[in-house]
Symmetry: C2
Subunit: 169 residues, 2 copies
């Protein structure tokens, strides 16, 4: 079982956006994370399609969270980037072959499908219990209150490309 690698990037972007005081361009998020802007844009677009972030247009444009980080769960982000389909898909093996069960007696999922669905429900419940705000609080807990504040300051400062442009002047 494997989750898309984009989930990790999308979660980091959401935590960073909790601290931003203005929209953050995708290129700035890519610079902060030292990752390809086109790769990160793909994850941000998935978050946008799911309605978790929105892209503000214009000169001071960029991405913002669409609601309070307390109201965005890890499960929301996982579903946005990796899809909401179940990891285990029952193909009704019980109905196959010479002793296959008739379709009309298969009124509820088979014991295997029930057990797999129960485990996935436990996984989803755990991801739904943790919000982006919880993750941001965890960062402050781990690294002290200057960590996210430092990112906030950096996001408000000039980007590398702005600095380079200023130096050329």
């Amino acid at each position: 079982m494997k989750l898309s690698g984009g989930v990790e990037w999308a979660l980091h972007c959401c935590v960073v956006l909790t601290t931003a005081t203005q929209p953050v361009p995708a290129a700035r998020l890519a610079e902060l994370h030292d990752v390809s802007a086109s790769y990160l844009a793909k994850q941000l677009q998935a978050l946008s399609r799911a309605g978790l972030v929105t892209s503000v247009q214009g000169k001071a444009g960029g991405y913002v969270l669409t609601r309070a980080p307390e109201l965005i769960t890890i499960l929301d982000v996982v579903a946005a980037v990796d899809g909401a389909q179940p990891a285990f898909v029952c193909t009704e093996i019980r109905q196959r072959g010479p002793l296959g069960a008739a379709q009309e007696v298969c009124t509820r999922p088979c014991p295997i499908a029930r057990a797999m669905a129960g485990a996935e429900a436990a996984w989803r419940a755990a991801l739904q219990a943790v919000s982006i705000a919880d993750l941001a609080a965890g960062v402050d807990e781990d690294y002290g209150p200057t960590a996210l504040a430092g990112i906030r300051g950096w996001l408000s400062g000039p980007s590398d490309s702005d600095t380079a442009a200023a130096e050329r002047r």
Copy 2:
């Protein structure tokens, strides 16, 4: 997130093997499930590599469970077929970029990695709580005690290829 389709076939084979009174050839399991013998052989080999089934050689050879079905969990089968690696792999994004955390302060997993690991632990615990014996009991509960008994009888009978050979005589 997606599990290998082989997990479902492997689980069905294990449940069928609980009812067998003698080793069951891979071809016979394929016939019962109306599936390609080579595809099913791949799943049985994965179960064998993980020590959950063993292949008895000889004329009356075939697959048997290596231990009581109460002692084989769904998690054992999932790990055998789909691997035991975590679904979420932390790539230490926190250490990247101009504000990256120094490696020496990253002494424990970051809040995101902790939350993802917690959810996977819940999923694994749920899969570990259900044994192959539980699944077999579930089949009897759903379809009555004749379902697995019917499979037992069929497994002891002649295969289609035996019948065809007898008819040619």
